[in-house]
């Protein structure tokens, strides 16, 4: 499915959402969630191709793949968090959106922690005294 189909589908969903928001707001949120999931699933293959190329580049650069997987996980968490937060905002639930963002931030910080600790320890070891 190429971009024209995605754009067409998005326009259709937007029109439906405009109508549904007036009549049945709950259905509008559901449609929005379904569309998000649909787009996410459709992009899975393409994302897989990107990850494979990144993997190959990382191998060639002699970088430990552990770091790369961590970065990819962080990207995944960020995307999922954004998706969920935007859906919650669309439904008018700002508080829930904030909580999702907060959880995503903490998750990202936790995943980045091993890299940060490794850098800090190495730098401290380099310092004289």
């Amino acid at each position: 499915m190429d971009i024209t189909q995605i754009v067409g589908l998005a326009l259709m969903v937007t029109v439906f959402l405009l109508i549904l928001r007036q009549e049945k707001p709950v259905m509008a949120v559901l449609l929005s969630i379904v569309f998000s999931i649909f787009i996410f699933i459709m992009m899975m293959d393409k994302m897989g191709a990107i990850i494979n190329i990144m993997k190959e580049l990382t191998r060639r650069a002699g970088i430990n793949y552990f770091f790369m997987t961590t970065i990819l996980k962080i990207l995944g968490v960020a995307y999922l968090g954004e998706f969920a937060a935007v859906i919650c905002q669309d439904a008018g639930e700002q508080a829930v959106a904030k909580k999702v963002e907060f959880a995503s931030k903490i998750m990202i910080a936790v995943m980045a922690l091993p890299i940060m600790v490794a850098i800090l320890e190495s730098l401290l070891e380099l310092m004289p005294g």
Partner: protein, 194 residues
């Protein structure tokens, strides 16, 4: 010179990866967090080979992430572990088996009509009982010999018929099964003595 060339080449690849990561970063409030993580990744990707080059004799915390155990060493450690495990496990199993056999012998011999018992306990690798085999001697002759007469109050053990043996076997099986909480099918009785 070769090392420098490699570092420059790797640096170029790292820059390309970083640019690409920047490109695919999500928009919104989470972007600064992802940028921070990507920044750390770039830092570590540059720092790791540089430190290895400058301080070849020192090991840094960064190196631990790169540490990969050789497959041969891993196998030998695993084999040694298995060996130690067997050294501890087997004697313990033997002790458990012999103690259990002694207990079963002592219990079974208390059953009326049983003259001698030889038990054999087989255990599973997890220590549970796999099978118990009892060789029971009821003291009855294995073949019928011609006798001059029958002494009613004789001290000699009396011959036990098939029903009697079944009764003894049932009693012993039930006793062992109840005492050790072992399923009855795991207890096997053989009247080898006749």
């Amino acid at each position: 010179m070769t090392t420098l060339y490699e570092i420059v080449r790797n640096l170029l690849v790292i820059i390309i990866i970083a640019s690409f990561l920047e490109l695919i970063m999500p928009d919104g409030r989470l972007r600064p967090f992802v940028r921070f993580a990507v920044g750390l990744f770039i830092l570590i990707a540059i720092l790791s080979p540089s430190l290895d080059l400058l301080f070849a004799d020192r090991s840094f915390a960064l190196g631990f992430w790169d540490y990969q155990l050789d497959a041969g060493i891993e196998r030998s450690v695993h084999d040694k572990g298995e060996e130690i495990n067997n050294m501890i496990y087997q004697p313990q199993q033997d002790v458990i088996q012999s103690k259990l056999q002694g207990q079963i012998n002592a219990l079974s011999i208390l059953v009326p009509g049983v003259n001698d018992v030889q038990s054999k306990v087989q255990t599973n690798p997890d220590g549970s009982v796999k099978k118990i085999t009892l060789q029971i001697d009821t003291g009855s002759p294995s073949r019928i010999e011609e006798v001059a007469g029958v002494n009613v109050f004789s001290d000699q053990p009396q011959q036990i018929d098939a029903d009697g043996k079944d009764a003894i076997a049932d009693k012993i099986v039930q006793m062992i099964s109840n005492l050790y909480e072992i399923p009855q099918e795991k207890v096997e009785i053989d009247f080898g003595g006749g």
